[in-house]
Symmetry: C2
Subunit: 346 residues, 2 copies
DNA sequence: CTGAAAGCGCTTACAG
DNA sequence: CTGAAAGCGCTTACAG
């Protein structure tokens, strides 16, 4: 009778608990705690009958294993983090989506840590989540290279759209999409392209500008950069005058947000897109298709990028990765209303 | 000489480490590990001079405290989780933003765990992150009530836009925004409103329909529901025929996505919005302002909702909350192009 | 103010 | 196949 009404043992974790531990299971099943641990995690290392007894006890006690406690001796939490600067950025969340699904396939949980604001907060956030996870994905990060390298010393780390040292960088090849875009513009009669640049220190901005430059030169089109600009609608609005003053008949923006801002300002100023000039962006964000006019843009398979980031991390962590055909990660043009035949004269 | 070149000690956490522990600091500083712990975390409990010595040693060794190890005895990780069904949902990410900032203010890190797909995956995700955090925010969750209550037994939990049992539910009051909307439509001559309903089991859908119903009745307008529908653009497209067939001159959709889908289908079918009928949504999502036509919508202060969710959690966790004036969490109408004078006859 | 000890809930060599 | 012990890196009563 004395053992029956186990006193509500006060507890420290969280507020409520009395959560069962493997010791409770061991007592109920009449075995050693180490046997419980093995029964629950090492299939086949324990006799079928005791395993059954242990599982029964675990179920009865509604046992929930404590991954924090397990992480201490093993050094593994089966969790990975995506550290991002801006969750609302469609590039980011499609990537995260892909990463999430891939992580689940390997029995890992993906957690997302955002940190808008400044790079210093992003750094702090990364540092704070690092201890909890087995690996880190940095998606379009603004972190200084030095900090990234330091982080990578602590945990396996892969980046998306950003190069640093020898670290893995999953980056869709921008060239095919940009070639298509320039070809498209040239065929519409455009002879001069202005590139509305993104953030100065952005790795991907440099890649885009470089590829655009090369593609335009190869076709004998004039090309120049207007920038740097923040990657936002507001910045696009602000850049309108400079874009118009440039005399280019086609404006390629660093991303869709800038392009949308530009279009908004054009409409407010009474200019017509694509009547007066054509506009294109990058990323094919949510809204690009129902904008007015809808936006021509270069898009990448970000789900796949996220998936690959996880696979790369799994390899570093030491998890067996299901090998897949290694098609190049590419980009492609999506033609919509914002690009059209160049006006006769300007 | 023998102590100098500490061998690269192989380690288990993550892949690389040799990370210093408080024992290393203790050795270097010539004190007991418990003193190190106190020096680093309990200001004033250790003499200034030993504290200085300890901090110097910590710095020298580049000590990074291990929050996992700390969590075991304390039961606290200073981390909270936002479990969401869809990160791309603007309602969700604005809420998360608010929560994030608030959490930072209290020295907590917010992690986001998404789980698109089915409710069962969402449940699994919630269960997986629960052990790592001190509290959970469920934003517009699809989880069955039973599961939510079970989760709440394990950790402090607050919800946003969803009621379950006695749990805290942070939900902006939809009434003011809806009253404004109905007033607006009535003043434009609309006599009949169709509500394009959201998901059948959505708590917030019920709230919106109820408030719309009441507001319309109070003004003598006809009102009826068409639904249920998924809260997506695609579903809005599919609902167009039913909406048109209903003969209503104003369609209020459960959310902006549905409204945008409806508008898209209307355009494809050659119908005019707002010429043939007016359309309004809820949430004021990204894109609502540059859609074609731009969308009239009812919006709430979601940043504030996120902030309050965190404050509520902090109270439950036992953290002192900075009290603020407790203004009601409200909603308001944003008038744009998609609503206009009702057509004469239909 | 500081030390020595016990404990948080697990895992994993080491024996047998 | 299973048990007993040690250890993961911290914290916190308990003494002194």
């Amino acid at each position: 009778m004395s053992d029956v009404s186990e006193p509500q043992r006060p507890t420290r974790n969280g507020r409520k608990s009395g959560a069962a531990t493997i010791y409770d299971i061991a007592r109920v099943a009449g075995v050693n705690p180490s046997t419980v641990s093995r029964a629950l995690n090492k299939p086949g290392r324990v006799s079928a009958t005791t395993e059954a007894r242990i599982r029964a006890a675990a179920a009865e006690l509604n046992f929930q294993e404590n991954p924090l406690a397990r992480a201490l001796p093993t050094g593994r939490t089966n969790t990975i983090a995506a550290v991002v600067a801006d969750m609302t950025n469609p590039v980011v969340f499609n990537t995260v989506r892909g990463a999430e699904n891939a992580a689940a396939r390997y029995g890992f949980t993906l957690i997302v840590a955002e940190s808008q604001e400044s790079g210093s907060i992003e750094a702090a956030t990364a540092d704070r989540v690092a201890p909890f996870v087995d690996g880190i994905i940095l998606a379009t990060t603004r972190l200084p290279e030095e900090h990234i390298l330091r982080l990578a010393e602590r945990k396996p780390l892969v980046m998306i759209n950003r190069a640093a040292g020898e670290l893995v960088n999953i980056a869709p090849d921008v060239t095919p999409g940009i070639e298509e875009l320039v070809e498209h513009l040239a065929s519409l009669g455009h002879r001069s392209i202005a590139y509305l640049g993104g953030p100065a220190r952005s790795w991907i901005n440099t890649r885009r500008w470089q590829a655009l430059f090369d593609a335009a030169r190869a076709r004998g089109l004039a090309v120049f950069e207007i920038g740097p600009n923040s990657p936002t609608i507001a910045a696009g609005t602000l850049a309108f005058e400079r874009a118009q003053a440039s005399g280019a008949s086609a404006i390629v923006a660093y991303n869709d947000l800038l392009a949308l801002g530009l279009i908004r300002a054009a409409r407010e100023q009474g200019a017509s897109v694509p009547g007066d000039f054509s506009v294109a962006g990058f990323d094919d964000i949510f809204g690009a298709d129902f904008a007015n006019p809808s936006l021509t843009t270069v898009r990448a398979d970000l789900l796949e990028a996220g998936t690959r980031a996880v696979e790369s991390l799994m390899r570093e962590i030491g998890v067996d990765v299901i090998e897949r055909p290694d098609a190049p990660l590419s980009t492609a043009l999506v033609v919509r209303e914002s690009t059209a035949v160049a006006p006769r004269a300007r």
